[in-house]
């Protein structure tokens, strides 16, 4: 799996890619206290509310997710969230136009898919998204097989897929593997353009993580194009500009994701609610830490009781940086917890929100994980000159 996919190793990423399942509204709400502005998390929260038949709350969550997606430049994800909101609460013309205007303010045009949506007029966008069908696929699903008829355009909303290309051998009609590549959010696939050509798939496309796709059939898209000729131009441009952006985005995403990979040992003193009760001392590891919080897997040998009991507790975190004679000391709160199995024994993974940390500790933590700007820049400069293909 390449680095474009590694970004899913964060806690939120693990929820999105399906490796952690949260099926409790309460737990989601606790998690949202730690990551209040994470649109991906809100999307899943909204999905859960919809599943629980809390439709108005779900619509509100979809709406907020759409707003946050716009702010982060994720046009496609914003549109899909809005589709779900509007399926619950039909929008007025005014609301539709307000959404379109908001999209315009946050529009990014870095990638073909972003440009595709950014250049739509309001009527075109509405005509297009009416036909757009979001759908989840579990990890390991075959979305499209070699030899299938090409009749659908897919946009990757979240998650990652692997595309394996083949070509037919002239003798015997056998196929031989040619290449593979990964598809991540804001990529698209499905060779349906030019519309006049009827093709069959030259690749297998299989999900690596849980994936959300937004798809539109070739026939529906052709209908939209007949009514709105500008769409055909946009579709043509979408396909033409695909290849030139892949490498650029690969590099950009790689740089964004090279963090939080080193396992760091932590000692937690978890304070009990009852006065006078002795705090619980546990140790654990985090491979997912930022300056705002950490996801910590507690050591299996500690008896913590049910994981739910840890949520809400205040905690003092001690991190013994091997490079420092002193320990870092951080005050925080457990805002989320879940039971997991470690080495065959039941333990807990907890999400901790950091609340108090000295400026020096903050900088030491930063240096421990990443080094200085100069070191980082030199690594990337050398990467560009020695490794870029």
């Amino acid at each position: 799996m390449n680095e474009r996919i590694d970004k899913h190793s964060s806690l939120v990423g693990r929820i999105i890619d399906g490796s952690i399942t949260i099926d409790s509204v309460t737990k989601f709400e606790e998690l949202l206290k730690v990551f209040p502005n994470d649109p991906g998390l809100l999307r899943f929260y909204a999905d859960l509310l919809k599943k629980e038949k809390s439709l108005y709350a779900a619509a509100a969550a979809y709406g907020l997710a759409a707003k946050l997606f716009i702010e982060s430049g994720s046009t496609l994800q914003a549109i899909v969230s809005k589709i779900f909101e509007w399926r619950i609460l039909k929008p007025s013309q005014k609301e539709g136009q307000a959404f379109y205007s908001a999209l315009g303010e946050g529009r990014h045009k870095d990638r073909p898919v972003q440009r595709f949506f950014a250049e739509m007029t309001y009527p075109v966008m509405i005509a297009f998204i009416i036909e757009l069908m979001p759908r989840y696929f579990p990890s390991g699903s075959m979305v499209k097989k070699f030899g299938d008829e090409e009749n659908t355009l897919y946009f990757v909303v979240s998650g990652a897929l692997k595309e394996t290309d083949y070509h037919r051998l002239e003798t015997g009609g056998r196929i031989q593997k040619k290449s593979t590549k990964d598809l991540v959010e804001n990529d698209f696939f499905g060779e349906i353009y030019p519309f006049e050509e009827e093709g069959v798939s030259q690749s297998d496309i299989k999900t690596i993580t849980r994936v959300e796709l937004a798809k539109i059939s070739k026939s529906s898209l052709m209908n939209v194009c007949r009514k709105n000729p500008d769409v055909k131009l946009l579709v043509g441009h979408l396909y033409r500009s695909r290849s030139e952006f892949v490498e650029k985005e690969l590099k950009r995403t790689v740089r964004k994701t090279v963090r939080h990979k080193l396992p760091t040992q932590m000692h937690l003193k978890i304070f009990q609610d009852e006065p006078g009760k002795v705090p619980l001392n546990v140790s654990g590891f985090s491979e997912d830490m930022s300056l705002g919080g950490a996801r910590v897997v507690l050591g299996a040998k500690y008896e913590t009781g049910h994981a739910d009991n840890l949520t809400g507790k205040n905690v003092k975190i001690k991190i013994d940086l091997p490079t420092s004679s002193d320990s870092l000391s951080i005050l925080g709160a457990i805002v989320w917890s879940q039971e997991v199995y470690l080495e065959g024994k039941k333990t807990a993974v907890v999400g901790i929100q950091f609340k108090e940390m000295t400026d020096t500790d903050r900088r030491l933590l930063d240096g421990y994980h990443y080094g200085s700007d100069g070191e980082q820049n030199l690594i990337w400069s050398l990467w560009d000159s020695l490794m870029e293909k």
């Binding site: 080193l262 900088r363 240096g367 080094g371 030199l378 050398l382 490794m387």
Partner: protein, 309 residues
Amino acid sequence: MREAQDTEMESTPTIWAVGGGKGGVGKSVVSTILAFWLARMGKRTVLIDVDLGGANLHTLLGIKSPPRTLNDFITRKFGSLEEICIDTEEKNLRLISGSSEVLSLANPHFSQKVKLINHFSRLDADYVVIDLGAGTSFNVLDFFLAAHEKIMVLTPEPTSIQNAYIFVRNAVYRRLSRLSSKIPSLQTLVKIAMDPKNELQVRTIKELLQFIQESGGKDVAEPFEKEIGEIRPAVITNMVKDNKEKNAGRIVQIVAEKYLMIQSTNLGTVSHDSQISSKVSDMVSLIKLDQSSHAFGNIYEIVTKLLGD
């Protein structure tokens, strides 16, 4: 902790430690094949698993459930490391299986690790290969710094390169931190230098040594310089698919030289080997694999190079 080489006698084994920061770069596989080739060359070898994240080296040697682990030694069920060594299918190769529980969570005191290293040095072997596992915790860095050969494994991926560099960086500061532990003023200086945005504008080890010299004199600075000079990691770039990817180790070398004054050795590269990946997933002993593959061949050359040094 004293360097193992300081205590070396004719009969003590040479210790190779294999680390590198990031998980999943193939440290365990490289450790196992290094040990395999040493054994095949007639060197009595013990492979030790101190992987903190998950001790599983035994599975790479086809051992499903190790009868004894390092934990049994640490908790004094057995009095010597010899008693917990497990024979493998390969003549001359024995294994000490790991126990992540004790090492990772109890975080043995520095003196306990010194003792453990001393016990490693007393093993009846020519070579001891230690698989350190991921991370840059005290345990990993202390074992790494104590070894005769400090081997770093990385892959041609940005995260791996970055983490391998941070691994060396933290190793250097760990050594400096230990050295300065008895001189409070220097310890403060080292701590300040670790802050990447410190007000003293100390951005490199060279600048730090200049500060140490200015504050404590040349006699104080020289031992620091000497100790840093002795950290000479040997870099292996693993899972290489083409010529460009062979440059990954070079990146770490260049940055470490500029910022940390570290002179590292490029041990070479190991080709990506799908045979190994699939067999590791199937828990098949690496010893049973086709040893004429590129990866095995590459590691054979690395062992030859290390033995020649």
